[in-house]
């Protein structure tokens, strides 16, 4: 075998790469595994398509050298990044290595993080962050090792923010995540904490306990907690589940705002119609029904992917496909607060509309809204301002938008079903029931004087209700063309597939006028 000129250097490169792939060493790797966590290398391999990882900065780290200049010891940086493929599509991947100094910043090379974010932006690649680090500052010990302190700034934050308006960003919380790591986790279009191993907090249990309240990591910032606060979008049962969710989320989106989400063949006929939908909504307005069953039925089979199930529950947000086209689905869930907009639901809606607008996804909105949530707690939560913000995002949105009124539509919240000044691409089911105020709640206020002077208060109340109910028919509204078209529920799928096909060529590439914020 012939010897090439640079063979010694190539051998040294391979050796340095080999050592870097050993991460924090056998002992730290064993510790990582003992916590039920995969190593950073295993994570990258499992998320990406087989053998598709192309690492950058593979030998960046800290070396110690002997007097003769020989490398004695090498500790890799605790953040690796590069490119790979997910379902055949190139993506950028950035991953923390907890086995090297707990992922803390004192073992970091910040420029790698900056370059990872910038690469995703410049190359228009979806970005997946696998976060497993304690934070940006390391410990206060670094004061002694570096001999100075500094005014804080999050490295690469201009890119982190720019990416939210440019490429899909998914972050998975795969360990205890505080400070900078937490900021990176939430600054994503889709964030997930893995049960048992992923937690997120501004500061960990040690600091909180020192401040006077003893807590565990999961009590302070576990997956179950933050999937309910909405600080992250969802939880996953395990790491494999989180990787599957990340892949699924990305499958509905374009690689960047400069392209459009692709149609796939779902094999589900746009003309499929199920007659049970005509009985899906009960006649008794006090009685609930399960909207997810309806949504899953009208979209392409097995295409419904819910985001944020555990928070702001009166509004459901999901990606789905209609005749193969990806769409953003919004739906009211009457099983939570009767479908009323709570502060959390309004925030969830705002973010989701911004997400749809950013990536040019047409919106389909299924409405059953009795109004804004009422009561002292709702007022204390600032529901009105959050509702106002949701209305603003709906009215600023320019993506194609189709509304289906399932049942109730009352008050300001329901008026946010769509921007009514656009062409009203809207259908209503025969169960439609709408107005400024629901009759049941409004009579007492509107007819107060009459009721107070009545001999038989209840009888008069009933009589008034009967009078009002006679004009409640949705057909009277349609007669005045105040609702555009009433349809049989079983027709919904075909009409929505028509919408998706009409909307597809209307989608416009490029940076949206307003884009997503965490």
């Amino acid at each position: 075998m012939s010897e090439e000129i640079w063979d010694p250097e190539i051998a040294e490169l391979r050796e340095r790469q080999r050592v870097a792939r050993e991460m924090g060493g056998a002992e730290k790797v064993a510790l990582q595994k003992s916590k039920g966590k995969l190593t950073v290398r295993e994570r990258v391999d499992r998320l990406l398509d087989p053998a598709s990882f192309r690492e950058l900065g593979s030998i960046a780290g800290v070396g110690t050298y002997g007097d003769d200049g020989e490398l004695l010891q090498f500790s890799p940086s605790n953040f690796i990044f590069g490119r790979g493929r997910v379902q055949g599509r190139p993506i950028a991947i950035a991953a923390d290595d907890f086995t090297v100094r707990g992922g803390a910043a004192d073992a970091a090379i910040h420029e790698k993080q900056v370059q990872a974010e910038q690469m995703a932006n410049d190359l228009r690649l979806p970005l997946v962050r696998l976060i497993d680090g304690t934070g940006g500052g390391g410990s206060v010990k670094t004061l002694e090792t570096s001999g100075f302190t500094y005014v804080p700034a999050c490295p690469g934050w201009d890119w982190v923010v720019a990416n939210l308006g440019t490429v899909p960003v998914v972050s998975l919380g795969l360990g205890p995540v505080a400070g900078l790591g937490a900021a990176r986790l939430v600054s994503s279009h889709y964030s997930v904490l893995v049960k048992g191993i992923g937690q997120m907090f501004a500061a960990g249990p040690a600091l909180v306990t020192a401040a006077g309240r003893a807590v565990t990591k999961d009590e302070l910032g576990g997956a179950e907690l933050h999937a309910r606060t909405g600080a992250v979008d969802d939880l996953a049962e395990d790491e494999a589940g989180a990787f599957a969710q990340a892949r699924r989320f990305l499958s509905y989106l374009p690689s960047s705002v400069d392209s459009l989400a692709e149609r796939v063949t779902t094999g589900d006929s746009p003309d499929r119609c199920d007659r049970w939908l005509d009985s899906a909504v009960p006649r008794d307005r006090r009685t609930t029904y399960k909207i997810r069953r309806i949504l899953e039925n009208v979209v392409d089979r097995d295409s419904f992917f819910e985001i944020g199930r555990r928070w702001g529950g009166s509004i459901i947000t999901a990606f789905a496909r209609l005749d193969g086209w990806p769409v953003a689905v919004i739906g009211s869930d009457v099983m939570v607060c009767a479908g009323a907009w709570t502060a959390e639901a309004a925030q969830k809606l705002t973010r989701f509309v911004e997400l749809a607008e950013t990536f040019h996804l047409p919106v389909v909105n299924f409405v059953d809204i009795p109004g804004l949530m009422i009561g002292v707690d709702a007022e204390k939560a600032g529901t009105l301002r959050h509702g106002g913000r949701a209305l603003a995002s709906v009215y600023q949105a320019s993506v194609p938008w189709c509304t289906v009124i399932i049942r109730k539509a009352f008050g300001v919240a329901a008026s946010g079903m769509a921007n009514h000044t656009r062409f009203r691409y809207r259908y209503a089911w025969p169960s439609g029931d709408w107005g400024s105020l629901p009759i049941e709640g409004g009579i007492e206020v509107a007819y107060k004087a009459q009721l107070n002077s009545a001999v038989d208060r209840d009888a008069l109340r009933l009589e008034i209700a009967q009078r009002l109910n006679r004009v409640r028919s949705p057909f009277r509204t349609a007669e005045k063309f105040l609702v555009e078209e009433i349809i049989a529920p079983h027709e919904t799928r075909a009409l929505l597939c028509e919408f998706a096909n009409l909307a597809a060529p209307l989608r416009k590439q490029g940076r949206a006028a307003f884009t997503f914020r965490p």
């Binding site: 309910r228 006090r286 609930t288 099983m335 009767a338 479908g339 109004g371 707690d377 049941e440």
Partner: protein, 74 residues
């Protein structure tokens, strides 16, 4: 045997309780009902087993995430 904590997915007033401690229950059985914004929301159990404790009373206003009942799973 494991204990399952049935929590409220919505806030609301407990309008009816359909079970008592000791009852055997099946998956998707309605254990109680919550009233909010003039809707009656049935609370179904996702697990089968035996009710060991009911933690709320009729007429009580519960918040989202509040513990409603404890179930010993079969």
């Amino acid at each position: 045997m494991a204990l399952y904590s049935l929590k409220a997915d919505t806030q609301g007033m407990v309008s009816a309780i359909d079970i008592v401690a000791g009852d055997r229950i099946a998956v998707a059985q309605v254990l109680l009902r919550l009233e909010i914004m003039k809707m009656e929301i049935p609370v179904e159990t996702p697990v089968a087993g035996r009710v060991t404790a009911v933690h709320v009373k009729a007429g009580e206003y519960v918040s989202e995430g509040q513990l409603l009942a404890t179930i010993e799973t079969a």
